[in-house]
Symmetry: none
Amino acid sequence: MADDDPKHAQLIRLYLEREGHQVLTVGDGRAALEMARSRRPDLVVLDVMMPLVDGLDVCRILRAESNIAILLVTARSSENDMLLGLDIGADDYLAKPVSPRELTARVRALLRRTGASDGPASILRVGDLEVDPGRFEVRVAGAPVNLTAKEFGIVELLAREPGRVFTRGQIIDKTFGFEHDVSERTVDAHVVNLRRKIEANPAEPRYVQTVYGRGYRMAER
Amino acid sequence: MADDDPKHAQLIRLYLEREGHQVLTVGDGRAALEMARSRRPDLVVLDVMMPLVDGLDVCRILRAESNIAILLVTARSSENDMLLGLDIGADDYLAKPVSPRELTARVRALLRRTGASDGPASILRVGDLEVDPGRFEVRVAGAPVNLTAKEFGIVELLAREPGRVFTRGQIIDKTFGFEHDVSERTVDAHVVNLRRKIEANPAEPRYVQTVYGRGYRMAER
DNA sequence: GGCGGCCGTACGGATCCGCGAAGGTTCCTC
DNA sequence: GAGGAACCTTCGCGGATCCGTACGGCCGCC
């Protein structure tokens, strides 16, 4: 979400978080572009009037390079602005003052639409860790990390239910297929390699945690 | 488009047809349901207040059985109505009196999102690669390239979502149709031929990239 | 301090991919 | 209908990458 008025930004953030959305906030257009590119959110809420790069330009640029969902918000409620916004690629357009319930309802409708359109599956997030099943890609603080198929399978499985402990047997069944003749030690090896790639300090894992005598789990955000 | 006021219906029809859309009109909710089921339009414009079955119910029913694009129009502009409409599955909501330009802009935005635009298909671009689904044509740096049907199907599928990884199974399903089981290695063969035609150096593909153990993907611009 | 569980390393084996070749099918031409 | 061309599909091989396991050392629990 991008808005140069901190009060307003905080308000919208509050509305959306109360709905269970995870919200990132920036204060100008350039930051909005960077954030959208590095974090790949499901949806972007843009104020039209912003420093550096205005919302319409951000909208145009983002639309040119992705089909992310875009919702424009503006103080100017002139019809021309709205038409312009919708025509350059915005999915929806709201005039200030924003009604909280209308905002959340439109966000829901838009996410429903983009989520159901066989588009990219939504991204799993835990802290600075992002697991993107559709792209087969994992990012740490925005930086892409190269994982093998098994490593990715494990981190995806764990990230789908942060906090839940998976035994090595469960991990083998769900990510290796049902190849029974696989040692549980193998999981350890993959976890080690995985940590090497995604943990800042593999000795003290922030994400993939060992549960002594049980198995592994993903930390809760 | 469903509206029980013939005047209003005629007006909306005019707006949309002037935009190049093909429009079917009915005067009550039951007819709207039948029409939507039999003709399967890209988008449905529903007046909320209609005889027999009201627009909200039509919306609910259609949403339950398909993910067709739905735009609600109503004379009552209360916020509660709008929230209700969006929550039961409508993609957008307009209050009467309807501005012709807003209507057409929102219809355009919605069709763009659902990907069912009946206008000219847009060209997919990734770097110097252009995929033109409408003309069944691919160009590299402006120079046309001759592709076979399968090759084109693959490059089009990949180019529609750059960065997303498609497994060989998905590629077979979505571009070969649900034909008799085809070996996944077949996809490899087509990819090889495809690369020979569109890649400057097939050994280091710029566009169609291999994701070891997963499948293929289109590079991101 | 003993013991069970975890981590790191290293290596043989399995898997996957690229690519050439060849048989089969479809469609067009004459 | 015969001939031919383009296309689709499969097969097989070599090479690159990844996987699975064993083993020794380490750590945490009792």
